[in-house]
Each structure stands twice: as C-alpha cells, then as structure tokens.
C-alpha cells in the first residue's frame, strides 16, 4: 500500500496520541509539531518504523518568531522517505531563554553541521552534540545573528565612515571637494554668515 500523508498522520497519532499536534499540509507536505522533549522519540519512530522509513534528513534549520511567548524558536526538520518518495516536515518549538534541544546526530551523521549552523545563527543548544561550535561565523561572535532582534543595517546611515563603498568619508553625495571645500562645509559657513 502506498504511503500517504493520512497514513503517516494516523501512525503518529496511534503512537504519540495528542502529543503530536498542528497537523497541516501546506503545498502537499505533511507538517506537524511536537514538544521539544519528544523530538528524538518522534525522529526515531519515523526512522525505525517499518512502514514509515524516514531515513533521509533533507534539511534542518531554525526559525525565530519573537511574537510567540515561550515558543520563540522553531527547529524544523525536513525528512524524506526515499523508498516511497514522500517528505514530511517536523517542527519543535522552544523557549529562547533556554533553547535546549536533543541532537539528532546519533541518527543522522548529516545533522552534525546542520545543527552547528543552526546553533551558529539562532543559538539553539543541541544537547549531546559532539562538537557544538560556530561553523560559518567567527568563533568570537557573541550573538546569534539570524534572530529577528538584529535587523540588517540601515542603508542610509551616515555615522559610519565607509569611504570605499561610497558612504561617509570624503567621497559621496555632498562631500565632493570643491575650491570652497565640500558642500557640507560650505553650507555650515553660509549658515554662520546668515546669523551675523
């Protein structure tokens, strides 16, 4: 019998009851979530069950939802059953003050760097990870840059001297040097004369 989203859902409910929640099917992919303590149990079940066989970890990443109190960080697993060619998306939500999640490295070797990347950008602390350190950012970084509280730099800011890239310094609009000095300087001196 071909594996369908309904069968997977049925099996999960049989095994975990109401601990697995939020079943949806955005664009055809079965999506569900569980509490963070259950993540390994669910992943193991999906891996070992003789009918489900979700043995390929396609993707692992995190999402930050600053508005959800106590569930600010989501860790999203994309799993693939290559035999029946069906994918599922499994999410767990965790608190941002203590984002401890069990590691999936025991199950998937591929999870190693994916979890390091997730830690690097979102600060999810994967318990039991063999080598949880930053991977793409510098080791000295002391914040998690993909969180929503770090917006991208305002492109119009003027306080930064970034001459080589046409901002601040002596190059750039209004700062071209003329005989009377730069435009900004001329304006300043003119303003003084007006007062006198």
């Amino acid at each position: 019998m071909e594996l369908t989203n309904d069968i997977i859902k049925q099996k999960l409910i049989e095994k975990f009851g109401d601990q697995v929640t939020d079943f949806t099917e955005p664009y055809g992919m079965l999506t569900f979530s569980a509490s963070r303590d259950l993540n390994l149990k669910v992943l193991n079940f999906l891996y070992d069950n003789s009918e489900l066989k979700f043995r390929f970890l396609t993707d692992l990443c995190a999402v930050h939802y600053p508005g959800q109190k106590g569930k600010e960080l989501a860790v999203v697993y994309h799993l693939h059953n290559l035999e029946d060619n069906i994918r599922v998306r499994f999410k767990i939500f965790t608190d941002i003050t203590q984002p401890d999640v069990y590691t999936a490295t025991g199950l998937f070797s591929a999870a190693n760097w994916m979890e390091r990347e997730t830690y690097d950008f979102y600060g999810v602390n994967f318990l039991g990870h063999p080598n949880l350190k930053r991977i793409l950012n510098v080791d000295e970084m002391d914040y998690f840059p993909m969180r929503k509280e770090y917006p991208l730099e305002d492109q119009t800011r003027m306080d930064k001297d970034d001459e080589m890239f046409g901002r601040g310094g002596t190059i750039g609009f209004g700062n071209e040097r003329t005989n009377q000095g730069t435009l900004t300087e001329t304006k300043k001196s003119n303003a003084g004369e007006d007062i006198v």
Binding site: H78, S109, P145
Partner: protein
C-alpha cells in the same frame, strides 16, 4: 644529528604526527575552505574542515529583499551552474504564488538547466583530471564551457552569475543566435565529450589514482545526506528530476546513471554519463521547442503582472504597466502567507529552498539547503587512512563549491 641534541621541555609529549594546513587559499582546494590534516608520514590520520571564509549572510539579506532581488543572491551559491539555482528559486516562488508556467517556458528552462548541468559536470570532471596531473583535458573543454556561457549571454546578457529568468518565465525570448549556438553545441559537443572520456576512462594512471579512493557505501552516503552525482555513484538512483519532477521534466526520456562503490572513479563516470543524458534531454527539449509555431513560439513568460515586469515600452505609454513596474521595482507587492519547500537537482545535489512567507513583501525566513555544505562533512570519513594526494582528488571529485558551502 643524534637524538640527545633535541631538548624537549620537561613533561612534553613527543608528537608523532604532522599537522598540515590545506587551505584556506590553496590551489588544490578550488575555493576558500580549509582542511587541517593530521598526517602520519603521508597517510591521513584525521581531517578537520573549516568552512565559512566567504560567508555572506544571504539568508539574512534575503529577509529584507523583494523576491526578484533574491535571484542574484542565488547566483552566488553554486556559481558553476548558477542558472539551475536561479530556476530553482523562480520555481520555489512560483510554487508559493501558484503561478502556472506555459510549456514552452518549461522547455526553455530545461534547456538552460541542462546546459548548466553540463558546464558544472564538465568543470568538475576536468578538474579531477587536473588534480590527477592531466591539465590538457581541462584546457580543451573550456572552449565548450565558453560556448555554453555564450548561450547564456544571448539570453540574459551575463555569463557566470547569470540572474537568468524571472518569476513566470524569462526576461526575453531566446533569439536566433542563441538557438544557432545551441545547435552548434549539440553538434560539436558529443565528439568533445567522447574525447574527454577517452583521455581518462581507460587511462591506467587515472584509474590507479581514482579507483578505490574515497569510497562510501550507499548506506553511509544516505546517512551523510549525500545527494546528486555523489549519491548516485554510491548506487542510489535518487534524482529529483525523476522523483519530484519540476519544469515538465516528466515529458523527457532519460536514464539515471548509477555507480557501485562511490569512489572517485565512479563519481567521474556518473558525471560523465549524466552529461550524455543531459545532451539527450537537450536534444529532446530543443525539438519540443521547435514544435511551437506561430504565436505559441513567442511565448516566453506566464501572465503574472504582479511579479513579471511589463515591457519597457508599455511602462512609458500605459498607466497599468507603469503601476506594476513601480510596484515590482519598489518591492511593494504582498505575497500570500505560507511555507514551501522546493528542491531542484542542482549540479552537485539537491538544492532546496525552504521559504516561509508571513504575507509580507519579503521572505520571513529563507533557508537554502546547500548540498555540498551537507556532504562535505563526510570528508574525514572518505579520506581517513588515505594518502595526502588522495585527499586532493577526493576534494575535487566531491564537487565542493565554496560559494555554496558558505552561503
């Protein structure tokens, strides 16, 4: 010098292995990433990879950009086959927005993607040759990569980072020169590919250098998240073009070549065979494109005024076109909320886009599943116990692209 002349500090342990920094800027890494190898003589005891030297925070930048401005970011992932990345991104957006593309667009996209796959595999295979000491093949096939780049140029105006296509189709129709160049390519390339194969496949030196080097079993490859030619070389016939067809790949007849041992030699052969398959897909696609006659032959994009820029002449003369142009350029179009995962068969594996939209004008979260970031982890397992020179070949035959790894 006798041994008593070496005075080690009290309590120090004599180190018996040599540490070698391979990279970050080493000609043989073909990109900026580092391997710290622990060597016992010339045998590799352990390898520690460092990546991230060219991390450019694409996922963060994408959170502030309208969709059409994210395409140039995807160029810079696997820059050996940027059209595939571009198409993957457009297809992801189209999936989210529910855009249906005409068949002719699909076939044109297949042409561009297969050309990109050939150029990607061509570089990878000839670089394996370079690292094994055969420079000639590399230099020779460059001419044909050049021809592929000229076809891109006719369509989009650029060569390496192409920014090709738009949501819903292409920015312009393929011109006659593009098709002439494609014909030239289809006519001349088989002979070149045959010659490249002749140079390597039964070459004793090449076989000795690559057979049994960096092997991986199918089971381990799957556990490590291998995809693309590297997985197929290990014997798993997983190809997204077949398992989850996009852009009308279901209309084409082709085979998935697989290897058995997953070593460098099999990876080379799989890539080589895939180029033949790509050629056959190209021929089929070109035939299908030629079948469109009259007005159908002029179709090169879907009708999606919200995302597809109107012709410039209309912008100057028609009110509606002007409004759409302004809204698109200023990024003032609200997307439907939703989350979507879409993947395409990239040059080196499954390139996935996980896109969450909260109904705003920019993605809420965009995650790239970059194949070589995931399978590069296996490097230590592939090279443990091998010679230093094998590590170089393993690296090039895995088709590691620093731009994609670091995103």
């Amino acid at each position: 010098m006798s041994e008593q002349h070496i005075k080690l500090p009290e309590g120090s342990i004599e180190k018996t292995t040599t540490t070698l920094n391979l990279g970050p800027t080493h000609p043989a890494t073909h990109g900026v990433f580092q391997n710290i190898l622990e060597l016992d003589g010339e045998r590799i005891v352990s390898a520690d990879q460092t990546v991230g030297y060219i991390h450019r925070a694409f996922e963060k930048i994408a959170e502030r950009r309208p969709l059409y401005q994210i395409t140039p970011l995807t160029d810079r992932l696997n820059y050996c086959s940027s059209p595939i990345n571009n198409m993957g991104w457009h297809l992801t957006c189209e999936k989210l927005l529910g855009v249906k593309t005409p068949k002719r667009v699909d076939y044109l996209r297949v042409i561009i993607m297969e050309l990109a796959r050939i150029s990607d595999h061509l570089i990878c295979n000839s670089i394996v040759g370079v690292d094994a000491g055969a420079y000639t093949g590399f230099l020779y096939v460059m001419q044909y990569r050049e021809l592929i780049y000229e076809i891109y140029e006719e369509v989009c105006g650029s060569r390496l980072t192409t920014n090709i296509g738009r949501i819903g189709g292409f920015e312009r129709n393929f011109n006659d020169i593009a098709f002439q160049k494609l014909e030239k390519f289809l006519k001349e390339y088989p002979r070149v590919l045959k010659e490249l194969e002749n140079l390597f496949v039964r070459n004793r030196i090449f076989m000795d250098r690559t057979m049994g080097v960096g092997p991986i079993s199918a089971e381990r490859a799957l556990n490590y998240g291998f995809t693309g030619p590297n997985l197929r070389a290990a014997g798993v016939d997983y190809d997204i073009r077949v398992h989850a067809p996009y852009s009308s790949y279901e209309d084409f007849q082709f085979e998935i070549p697989v290897g058995t041992t997953g070593d460098c030699y099999d990876r080379f052969l799989v890539r080589s065979q895939e180029m033949w398959q790509s050629l056959s897909i190209l021929e089929q696609a070109y035939r299908k494109v030629q079948e469109f006659k009259g007005a159908d032959a002029e179709v090169y994009h879907a009708d999606v005024p919200e995302y597809y820029l109107p012709p410039k002449a209309d912008v100057y003369t028609k009110m509606e076109a002007l409004i759409w142009h302004f809204k698109i350029i200023m990024g003032e179009i609200d997307m439907p909320a939703g989350e979507v995962y879409h993947s395409v068969e990239g040059g080196n594996g499954e390139l996935g886009f996980y896109f969450i939209s909260d109904g705003g004008r920019t993605p809420y979260r965009l995650h790239f599943r970059r194949p070589c970031f995931i399978y590069y982890q296996a490097f230590e397992e592939l090279t443990k116990g091998a010679m230093l020179s094998d590590a170089i070949i393993v690296m090039s035959s895995l088709n590691l692209i620093a731009g994609e790894m670091d995103a």
